[in-house]
């Protein structure tokens, strides 16, 4: 969409101000609706390479005007299990595929709200199917020439990360 604001560089004051705000609001609002979860945010940072400290990740492959972008969520399993058990009313095995399916749906809901908020701010974020995996299974070369905006946040004290990657 030609009239949409561009996401060509992450270190753009407009992008930082509006989109970081939309992302934080999307995460907080979704988790608040899912249960009694306290969400807190730490200052965002930029990185070409960084080590993800948590074992579960979700990837959404997106495009804006043919520019590939990627959204990744990185979760500590503790809040994921708490959220899922609240949603389905049953125990979740942390070693099973259920946790990957569930974290994909949680990320889908969070990103859906972020997308709605960002698009109403003039951006044009697309949608794709979230792909969940164990962080160790993300290929090391999956982020060539990428620049990441990383927003650390905690859910009931457990640290998670939102990552927005623009490929140069």
């Amino acid at each position: 969409m030609s009239t949409a604001l561009k996401i060509s560089t992450l270190k753009n004051p407009l992008f930082e101000k509006i989109v970081v705000g939309n992302i934080c609001a999307g995460i907080k609002d979704t988790l608040t609706q899912l249960g009694p979860f306290t969400t807190e945010f730490q200052p965002h940072f930029f990185a070409a390479k960084w080590v993800v400290p948590t074992p579960i990740s979700v990837i959404l492959n997106l495009k804006q005007d043919e520019q590939p972008i990627q959204v990744r969520f990185h979760f500590d399993p503790k809040p994921v299990i708490d959220i899922l058990e609240g949603m389905i009313g049953d125990k979740v095995d942390p070693e099973s595929q259920d946790i990957l399916d569930g974290v994909g749906e949680i990320s889908n809901m969070i990103y859906g709200l972020i997308k709605s908020k960002a698009n109403s701010s003039g951006f044009s974020f697309g949608m794709s199917r979230p792909e969940a995996c164990f962080t160790k299974d993300i290929p090391p070369n999956a982020n060539p020439n990428g620049q990441s905006l990383v927003i650390p946040f905690s859910v009931n004290g457990s640290v998670c990360h939102f990552e927005f990657i623009v490929f140069q």
């Binding site: 979704t30 609706q33 899912l34 899922l84 949603m87 389905i88 009313g89 049953d90 259920d98 399916d101 569930g102 994909g104 749906e105 889908n108 809901m109 990103y111 859906g112 709200l113 997308k115 709605s116 698009n119 109403s120 949608m127 199917r129």
Partner: protein, 139 residues
């Protein structure tokens, strides 16, 4: 509201969301509930059920799915004279006006934004039922 032996189909590529919707339907007293993991599989189930004389009486479908989206499934149902009157609710994580309009134009009965709670889903189901049974609403 739909009677207890209503036949439901839940369509979602994420098993977690299928479990969430099924849990609410069971809590509401329904037990005839089938599941499909994408629109393509769902369409086959819907057509087979209609041809067998025991059609689904309400479809609750996700929008964003591989192979065939919920919107494509809705349009396929509306294009089939045997299926076009089937109550169809779309469930989605996106709440943009353009999407809601697109779904309404395609003939969706109701539109639910995730995450939702049991009360919201029950309210939407009541609205779907009333929309397809105007006499019940008047009574």
């Amino acid at each position: 509201m739909f009677i207890p032996n209503t036949k439901f189909l839940i369509v979602d590529d994420f098993a977690t969301m299928r479990k969430v919707v099924k849990k609410v339907l069971v809590e509401l007293g329904y037990s005839d509930i089938l599941e499909a993991e994408d629109g393509k599989i769902a369409l086959q189930l819907i057509q087979d059920a209609a041809n067998s004389g025991a059609p689904f009486q309400c479809i609750v479908s996700d929008w964003n799915m591989p192979n065939m989206t919920g919107l494509e499934l809705l349009k396929a149902c509306k294009a089939d004279p045997k299926l076009k009157e089937t109550p169809f609710m779309l469930v989605t994580a996106e709440s943009e006006k353009e999407q809601i309009i697109e779904a309404a134009k395609a003939g969706v009965s109701e539109y639910v934004v995730k995450p939702f709670n049991a009360a919201t889903l029950k309210d939407k189901l009541t609205r779907v039922y009333n929309k397809h049974n105007p006499a019940a609403k008047a009574a």
